[in-house]
Symmetry: C2
Subunit: 179 residues, 2 copies
Amino acid sequence: MSLRHAILAMLDIEKGSGYDLVKRFDQSVSYFWAAPYQQIYRELQKLEASGFLNSVAVVQQGKPDKKVYDVTEGGVNELKAWLEKPAKAMKIKEPLLIKIYAGDLADKGALLEEIQQHKNDHAETLLQYKEVSQLLSSLEEPLRTKYFLPHQTLKLGIKIEESWLEWAEEILETLQDMA
Amino acid sequence: MSLRHAILAMLDIEKGSGYDLVKRFDQSVSYFWAAPYQQIYRELQKLEASGFLNSVAVVQQGKPDKKVYDVTEGGVNELKAWLEKPAKAMKIKEPLLIKIYAGDLADKGALLEEIQQHKNDHAETLLQYKEVSQLLSSLEEPLRTKYFLPHQTLKLGIKIEESWLEWAEEILETLQDMA
DNA sequence: AGTCTATATTCACCTTTATGAATATGCAAC
DNA sequence: GTTGCATATTCATAAAGGTGAATATAGACT
C-alpha cells in the first residue's frame, strides 16, 4: 500500500485538508499514483485512526468548514520505515493498448478516433504538467529547494506523456496509411 | 475489468494454456497490463465458466498435462462489445516516485542506489522488448500481419522504457552533483 | 425561488489485485 | 537418491481500488 505513504509525504511537505490534497494530486502525484477523491479521504481517516495524522477543524468564511491534517511524529517514522524498504516496480494499466492489441476485431474508424481522443487528453495533461513544472522552476528559495524532489518526479511524467504523444502520432499515421 | 479482455484478445490471436499465456504476458502485454500468474489462471477459469472460452486437456510427453483454451463465439462477441465502449485513461503506479517525492526524509545514498537498481531493471526490460520487437519485425507473412497491431503496442512500451532510462540518467546526475 | 458551481466530506458495496501456500510431472545434475 | 529446475495448475485470504450516492455551505447567475 503506497497511497498512504504518498499522502504522508505530501502532508509532510505541506499540511492541508482532503480537498487540498485532491487538488495537489491532480497537479502532479496523480501521474504516478492516481487515486479518486473518495480513496484519499478514506486513507486520511485510516491514517488518523492509526495515529499517523492529526486533524484540526478549521472554520472558514464563505466556505464550508474543513479538516486540516498534519503528520505526527509516528507518521514521519512510518514514512521513514517505508522509505527503507525496496520499492516495487512500476505498474501501468493502459486499456487502450488492449484495444489496439485486439484491433483486428474492432472498427478501424472508431479505433482511430479513440486514439486521437486519447492523444488530445494526453496533450492536455502534458500542458498542465509543463505549467506546474515552469511554476516550480520559477520558485524562489527556500521554496525551490523544498519542491526540488517533487519537481524531479514531475519530469518523468512529462517525458512519459511526450513519449505517448510521439507514439500516438506514429501509430495514427501508420493506421491511416493502411486505410 | 480489462484483464479478461486482454486474455480474450491474446487467445483470439493464438490459443494456448495458462502457462503459455503467462509467458506471452511477460513478453509484451505485461508492460501495459501486468498480472501475476495466479490471476491469469483465475480469469481463465472465470472466462470458461462464462462460456467465453473452451478448454481441451492435452496430454504431453515429458511434461505435465495442460489445458489449452480457445475463444468461443460468445467470447468473440464479448470482446467486440467491450471494444465498442470507450477505454479508460492510462494509470501508472510508480512507488519509486513516491520515495523520491519524500526524498528529504530518506537516506540519500540508499535512494541513489535504489534508482540505479531500478534503472538496471528497466534497461533489462527494454532489451527484452527490443528483442521481441525485432522478432516481430522479421516475421514472414501472414504472421507479420497477424502480429502487426500487438507489435504497435510493444512500441509504446519501448518508448516509455527509453524515457524512463533517460530520466533516470538525468536525476542520478543531478543528485550526484548535489552530494 | 431555482439552478449552477466550487468547496468540503462521508459511507457503502462490489471488484480487482496481491500474496503465500500447495500440488504434480519429469528431466538433469551432483 | 535428492536437489533443483521448468512445466503446469489451483485455492484461500487479505488488502487495495473503483464507483455511485449522499450531504452540506455558500456565492453567483437567471
